[in-house]
């Protein structure tokens, strides 16, 4: 198969899954610098306080990050000066139950389930979440996150402080 053909081909579920697992692995390893490069320029990273609002921009979220805020957030978490992330909690997460909700020549949209366990100071906490991803293919063929929405199972209820990325 020629390179040109491959670059315009639809993104398969297998490719998307591989991409999402690699992203999850970066996050569990707190490897935030390469994570920042996984995004499109206009990409949005959203963790809402309510399920499925009409427009996330018009409501209060836990996280509503554009590129500038993602970079500031990663810098903060890695700085060593934020006591909620230094020392950091340990996390182990898996993402599964993928369903393709839309796809086209250069994009795929999925929903999925994330199961995350967090451990710090003797506390073990579980943060299950419904996930939505929009993944696009860049001109050079690589996949990029264009939107990632993490709706915690208890999004509208109380959380404990979260000193890492979901």
């Amino acid at each position: 198969m020629s390179e040109a053909l491959e670059m315009t081909a639809t993104i398969t579920l297998a490719e998307a899954t591989q991409f999402i697992w690699a992203e999850a692995d970066l996050l569990d390893r707190l490897d935030y610098k390469p994570w920042l490069k996984l995004w499109t320029e206009g990409g949005k990273y959203i963790i809402p306080t309510e399920r499925d609002p009409a427009d996330y921009a018009e409501v209060l979220n836990i996280v509503y990050d554009n590129k500038v805020m993602r970079e500031a957030r990663a810098k903060r978490l890695l700085s060593g000066f934020s006591m909620s992330s230094a020392p950091p909690a340990r996390t182990v997460r898996t993402v599964s139950r993928f369903v393709v909700t839309a796809s086209g020549d250069d994009f795929i949209e999925l929903r999925a389930a994330q199961m995350l366990a967090e451990y710090k100071y003797g506390h073990m906490r579980f943060l299950p979440a419904d996930m939505r991803y929009r993944i696009v293919r860049a001109p050079d063929g690589t996949l990029l996150l264009d939107e990632k929405i993490v709706t915690l199972i208890n999004a509208e209820d109380y959380q404990f402080g979260i000193g890492y990325l979901l």
């Binding site: 018009e58 979220n61 996280v63 509503y64 500031a72 000066f81 006591m83 109380y158 959380q159 402080g161």
Partner: protein, 418 residues
């Protein structure tokens, strides 16, 4: 524990560590404080129209805040008068009737018992009027709704006293449109509620705990948040209330309207101009958008904290729930409220650039408080407030003084020994 014992646990400059970890004291606090004073339950914009409601808490007791057909605000215990089931488990919404899911007793939004299914099974003298939802005494000031179990205490306005002036100032961030709630972050920390009560009047921790927040700001804004370096102060307002002024320039948001627009709000100002707002409106909205330059701590459970309401709820002696309520303009330009939401998300909430570090700090206080048998929490910090800033006759200290904490604990002592 006797009144005398409680009196010995709070001194002028320190409180005993058992106040953070003794379950018996906690139970007494819920009784002597939370059932005997004005407790914040909601903002009027949470129940904007008739038949709207919001569930809330007074101490450990679940309540429903309702707006009835006459537009009156009611605070009702969320408990069916028959066999105790809660009658509402939604956070907010609209309802013209609350129906108990267990046996179907139904109540009006003012608490009146409307209907009892299969009423023939009760004796003839059964009187529905004897079984309304229990209604608490309710009073409001500046849109803030407070309730109390105690019918004998002073009116709310008297309880607030000099704090009212600061509530009036705080609400100017509605930029003339009035204030409404925009959403809330909720989080818990494993620690006593008074650790959080102290924190709202603690400027001392800000540059240390919130270094990474400060590092995320542009240079101009970082200067605005140099909270220890602007001649601020902490002032005891009586009844356990206090104000901590960190940014004196932002006390009155209707002052200095012709000052240059800060760079970080230049884009917002342009958006507002493009929408056709005149220069005066643009300046008013922009000046108000970042909030007020002070934290007003209202004993025992709410603060008007710069740009939001901070509400605490004691859960157990070692667990506390905090709600950060985002506020904005009621009917003002949408762009201004969007900016307020993004600013709120930047610092507040379980993944904000500020809150998780606060929560971690409070957890560390609780963990450390388990060490040592007879040690004290020191509240002796402070030098004189700058001359002439505080109201004559009010006890006041410099911005990083622990004056506000001492004020709250003296109120604690008065209530626990009353």
């Amino acid at each position: 524990m006797s009144d005398h014992d409680y009196a010995t646990l709070v001194r002028e400059d320190r409180v005993h560590t058992s106040l953070y970890r003794d379950g018996t004291i906690f139970d007494e606090e819920m009784d002597r404080i939370f059932k005997n004073t004005w407790v914040w339950v909601a903002h009027e914009s949470d129940v904007p129209v008739k038949n709207s409601f919001k569930t809330s808490w007074v101490g450990r007791e679940p309540v429903i805040v309702t707006r009835d057909r006459e537009m009156k605000v009611n605070v009702l215990l969320n408990r069916c008068r028959h066999r105790a089931a809660s009658v509402c488990e939604k956070k907010k919404g609209k309802a013209s009737v609350f129906v108990c899911p267990y046996h179907g007793w139904s109540y009006d939004p003012d608490g009146t018992l409307r209907k009892v299914p299969h009423a023939a099974g009760y004796p003839e003298d059964f009187d529905k009027s004897e079984f309304p939802l229990i209604s608490l005494r309710v009073e409001t000031y500046q849109g803030m709704i407070f309730a109390t179990f105690n019918n004998d205490i002073e009116p709310l306005v008297d309880y607030l006293g000099p704090a009212r002036k600061w509530m009036d100032l705080f609400m100017k961030q509605g930029a003339g449109y009035g204030v409404k709630t925009l959403g809330e972050h909720k989080f818990r920390f494993p620690g006593n509620w008074k650790i959080q009560l102290e924190n709202t009047t603690d400027a001392y921790h800000f540059p240390i705990v919130h270094k990474t927040f400060l590092d995320s700001l542009d240079a101009e804004t970082e200067n605005v948040f140099d909270v220890l370096g602007q001649g601020g102060w902490v002032e005891d307002l009586g009844n356990g209330h206090s104000v901590m002024v960190m940014i004196p320039d932002l006390i009155d948001l209707e002052d200095n309207l012709d000052a240059p627009i800060p760079d970080r709000f230049a884009e917002l100002a342009q958006e507002l101009r493009d929408e056709g707002h005149d220069d005066a409106t643009v300046r008013k909205v922009v000046r108000a958008v970042g909030g007020s330059g002070f934290n007003l701590n209202l004993f025992p459970n709410v603060a008007c904290s710069m740009a939001f309401f901070r509400v605490l709820r004691p859960v157990t002696v070692e667990e506390t729930e905090i709600m950060h309520v985002a506020i904005g303009m009621d009917g003002g330009p949408a762009a201004g409220n969007r900016e307020r939401l993004r600013l709120h998300e930047h610092f507040q909430g379980p993944m904000g650039f500020g809150t998780p570090d606060d929560a971690e700090g409070w957890e560390r206080v609780q963990r450390g408080a388990h060490a040592g048998e007879d040690l004290w929490i020191m509240l002796n910090r402070g030098v004189d407030a700058p001359a002439g800033v505080a109201e004559p006759g009010h006890n006041a200290g410099d911005v990083s003084a622990e004056t506000g904490m001492r004020a709250a604990y003296q109120q604690w002592k008065r209530m626990m020994t009353a």
